[in-house]
């Protein structure tokens, strides 16, 4: 019941909240919203969650979007993607882009999710688990894993929890573990940095860069959907996992 009331009130609230961030579409029609929702669910939902709650993609159910600072920026991102991230460009008509943008702006009306756990204890957990040997925060730490400065803005709590428990199922797009056997029969594991038809560059798990012409290698195996991070399921209690997730969700980066 409360939800229903909220929904009725929310368009007004949105216009106040969103107006500051992205302006308010005055001519947002029910038809356009329905079309936008349909497209969002098929095109965006698999990463951003069916209602924008995030997942592999950023949480969009928030009044202010970090990168889409106005309507034009939002449409540009939907159209062209964000270079250097997993957000791809799209193959949509201007009308479709516009209707998705209209729908995305309504997602800010959703209540933020409740997260169990204590971010302070999670921060200690982060340090004690030596996460920084692979991940970096504030410029400190390793470079094998994704940078975590704004991980809480890019991933929702459920996704982060699952990524800790089942790393292989939540490998970021474009992250690829390689195993190569060199001409002198050394076996090297690493994360792909770049590759073309004739060469490959990767970092081993200590962060050292390797570059090979492919004809210098005996074998080059691509280990899709494999993470160098071991599961934390056995290593953390449910409460400890909650704390770590709460800490990661609190990492929003600079606006």
């Amino acid at each position: 019941m409360l939800l229903v009331v909220m929904r009725r009130l929310l368009p007004l609230v949105c216009c106040l909240a969103v107006a500051l961030a992205v302006g308010c579409a005055e001519s947002e029609t029910a038809e356009e919203l329905a079309q936008g929702r349909l497209l969002f669910e098929s095109q965006c939902g698999s990463c951003h969650g069916p209602t924008g709650g995030g997942g592999r993609g950023a949480v969009l159910a928030q009044p202010q979007l970090r990168r889409a600072t106005d309507d034009q920026a939002l449409e540009n991102i939907i159209r062209r993607g964000i270079a250097g991230t997993e957000m791809p460009g799209s193959f949509l008509t201007p009308i479709q882009v516009s209707s998705i943008a209209t729908y995305v702006k309504t997602l800010g009306r959703v209540e933020p999710e409740e997260i169990p756990g204590d971010a302070g204890r999670g921060a200690q957990m982060y340090a004690s688990l030596d996460c920084q040997s692979c991940h970096s925060l504030g410029g400190q730490g390793g470079i094998i894993g994704p940078e975590l400065d704004d991980i809480g803005a890019r991933r929702n709590a459920a996704h982060l929890r699952q990524a800790l428990l089942e790393p292989d199922a939540f490998v970021p797009t474009g992250f690829l573990l390689l195993r190569v056997v060199t001409g002198d029969l050394r076996v090297l594991d690493g994360v792909r940095v770049n590759e073309d038809a004739f060469s490959v560059q990767f970092r081993d798990l200590s962060g050292n860069l390797h570059s090979f012409w492919k004809d210098e290698l005996e074998t080059l195996d691509k280990l899709w959907q494999r993470s160098p991070m071991a599961s934390y399921e056995e290593r953390l209690s449910p409460a400890q996992t909650d704390d770590l997730v709460a800490y990661l969700v609190s990492l929003k980066g600079s606006p």
């Binding site: 497209l39 799209s90 193959f91 479709q96």
Partner: protein, 533 residues
Amino acid sequence: MKMLILVFLLAIAPPVTAQVPYERILDAASEPGSWLTYSGSYGAQRYSTLDQINRDNVDQLQVAWIYQTRSTQKFEVSPLVADGVMYITEPPSDATALDLRTGRPLWSYRRSLPQGIVTCCGQVNRGVALLDDGVFLGTVDAHLVALDAKTGRVRWDVEVADHTAGYAITVAPLALDDKIIVGIAGGEYGIRGFLDAYDPVTGERLWRFWTVPGPGEPGNETWSGDSWERGGAPTWVTGAYDPELDLLYWGTGNPGPDFIGDVREGDNLYSESLIALDPDTGELQWYFQFLPHDIHDYDSTQVPVLLDATFEGVPRKLVVFPNRNGFYYVLDRVTGEFLVGKQFARQNWAFGLDDNGRPIENPETIPDRDGAVVYPDDDGAANWYSPTFSPQTGLIYQNVRETGATYFLADATYEPGRIYMGASRRAVTDEDPRGFLRALDALTGDLAWEIEVRSPPWSGLMATAGGLVFSGTTEGDVFAADARTGEVLWRFQTGGAVYANPITYMSEGRQFIALAAGSGLFNFALPTSPARR
């Protein structure tokens, strides 16, 4: 005596910089140092008999000069070379003549374009046609322009179609005897496709063949209701010509709207077809429809390659066609008879082809509201970039794209000049899209060898009598492979993605290879001897 006359004629002939009469193009094989038409010859094999650069020395190939375009759009040019001058187009719709000795521009034609040009896939251009002393250029605002080859000055400029309704020209025109053939793009905008011929002197239109027949014309019954009016079937890749049969061959693109077939029930002729026309009248002589009622946007706009061979014991005139839909076709080019259809790339949209070459389609790949996974995606297993055929090896070479996407059905609403498509696409992300250079037996389509490159390529190919095939990659590599074995013998990282076709030519006794990558047009040659430096 003959020699004396020849000497005399040469002595009195005025200095000619660009006289490319039809007869020279017809006989292009006799001057392999030039590159006079889009595919090198009317037969469109993109094969050169030059062999100064060959398997033994190609590893010494190096950059001789680079021309940089000012545009950041895809540089899809296939250059032409005649009499010491290279003629190129630059995106969006510019043309430039370059001095072959130095790479320096001699003139440029810079077109002022109106606002609001719509093209599905970039404001690009694939090259000019040369005929007599004219240079012919199609533009993204759907005009055909004739330039003076010596100066770049405009001789005439005619509107081919209304760009505000989604028509555009990206194709390199084809010069035949006394006519310029030009196709049209706009298959994603609800255009009605056609192929045109123009008088090279006056710019007058000589004929138009509608690739979507109107009421009362044969084939119109393959379109439900008035859907033919927006039926697409564009003609945006340069075709081939057989002077003996006097037949013009051209591929046609997807029916409109893309992806959604319910609004255009029927086979949708002559979309997704190879058409053979009488070049004097534009009348249809035969057609072969690769893909009736296409709902995957697999334009059959590839370069038709003409070759003569003994097929199953009988000498035949053939046309072969590695199609964007993932099948390789061999047809009789006299009659259009289907001879061979063989899968050459990953695909799931068809279970195979029947005895007449008609696909047996997989209904699970029809776009729906829940999303249908389709291989290849709508960029295809092949695309506009050229294949090549080497008579030395009997192999046809094709750059192959292997990547899929999920298609979600959507409503398509026609508005002039607005995109007209019935689905949205989501890329498959849990695998690397893959790219290959594949060598196929030209008569059977059987795989002879392949080279895996990184991403699906957008580079055309060229084979030479030096025993080589030249290619490029999306990661910026340009390379030469042994045409017989696929061994890579030379490679060079240009730093820019290749969206272009290679050519070769001679300049001052040296063979050059030219291929655009990024915004640079790279010209490679063997090192000059110290004495010449």
